[in-house]
């Protein structure tokens, strides 16, 4: 019998860690990893809510599935982009990929 808040709190902590990773690290792959962590946190929330708020319904789990799908797609495309950047500019450090700068 796990209280829902436990789930939510650990998800929040995981999200926070992922957020920190996504913000503080400069390697693009690592940022992607951190984003995956954040998505996992979201999934945890979804599954937790699904279990507690609508126990006879699996909507939350279905959404978590969709999140996983999107995460997979995101990982594929993101890593492909990173590879492309590395190939073109020979860096995987986002500090050196600052073409968005004004």
């Amino acid at each position: 019998m796990i209280p829902l808040s436990w789930v939510l709190v650990s998800a929040a902590l995981l999200f926070g860690l992922g957020l920190y990773g996504a913000l503080a690290r400069t390697n693009a792959v690592r940022i992607l990893i951190a984003i995956e962590l954040m998505l996992n946190a979201v999934n945890l929330n979804l599954v937790g809510f699904s279990r507690y708020l609508s126990p006879h319904d699996v909507t939350g789990q279905v959404f978590a599935l969709f999140v996983i799908t999107v995460a997979a797609a995101e990982a594929a495309v993101g890593l492909a982009i990173i590879l492309m950047i590395v190939r073109q500019r020979d860096v995987s450090d986002v500090d050196r990929i600052n073409l968005l700068k004004w």
């Binding site: 503080a24 996992n40 990982a75 995987s92």
Partner: protein, 187 residues
């Protein structure tokens, strides 16, 4: 405290520790492997929440596919990173702290992350959550299948299109111009 609770706490401790190592470890391969551990722990938590199907999917997709992708990307991207030279090495707490603040964004990421978690925590604490309904739920696999192909058939199809597009996109992106036949494969 029931066994389930102990299991949950242990799993989330592992998950959080692994996540912590993901963001702090110096060698990127280590980060990737810690990520796997974190994912596995999340899968375990899914199991404690009676989401068996998601447990399997989580393992398959994250621990299997995404990890492979990440490892490929690491191996193919930057050799300096592989050698652990990409970011200042950190042994010892002092060095680590110095690294924290000497970075471009300074302490701000940490502050934001902690702030976010804290706010969420306070929100969760303040909200009255419903208790757990009694009894173990029926296995959800069948229900998920029905939902996917019933109510959510359109999102499902969209998701598959997204995957397809991502696949094609990834292939197109990583394709070498002029074909690698010339450059690498065949003389």
């Amino acid at each position: 405290m029931t066994g389930l609770q102990i299991a949950f706490l242990a799993l989330s401790a592992v998950m959080l520790f692994a996540a912590w190592k993901v963001v702090t470890s110096d060698i990127i391969v280590h980060a990737a492997l810690w990520m796997v551990l974190s994912f596995v722990a999340v899968a375990g938590i899914f199991l404690t929440l009676h989401a068996e199907f998601l447990f399997a999917v989580q393992l398959l997709v994250y621990a299997g596919a995404i990890t492979a992708l990440v490892i490929f990307a690491i191996m193919l991207s930057d050799i300096r990173e592989l050698r652990g030279e990409g970011e200042p090495a950190g042994a010892g707490l002092g060095r680590r702290v110095r690294r924290l603040v000497s970075r471009r964004l300074g302490l701000a990421p940490a502050a934001v992350a902690v702030g976010f978690a804290a706010v969420m925590y306070s929100v969760y604490r303040a909200t009255p959550w419903p208790g757990l309904p009694p009894g173990d739920p029926a296995p959800s696999t069948l229900a998920i299948g029905r939902e996917l192909f019933g109510t959510y058939v359109v999102p499902f199809e969209l998701a598959s299109i997204v995957l397809l597009v991502a696949m094609v996109g990834a292939i197109v992106l990583t394709l070498r111009e002029g074909g690698r036949e010339k450059e690498e494969k065949r003389p």
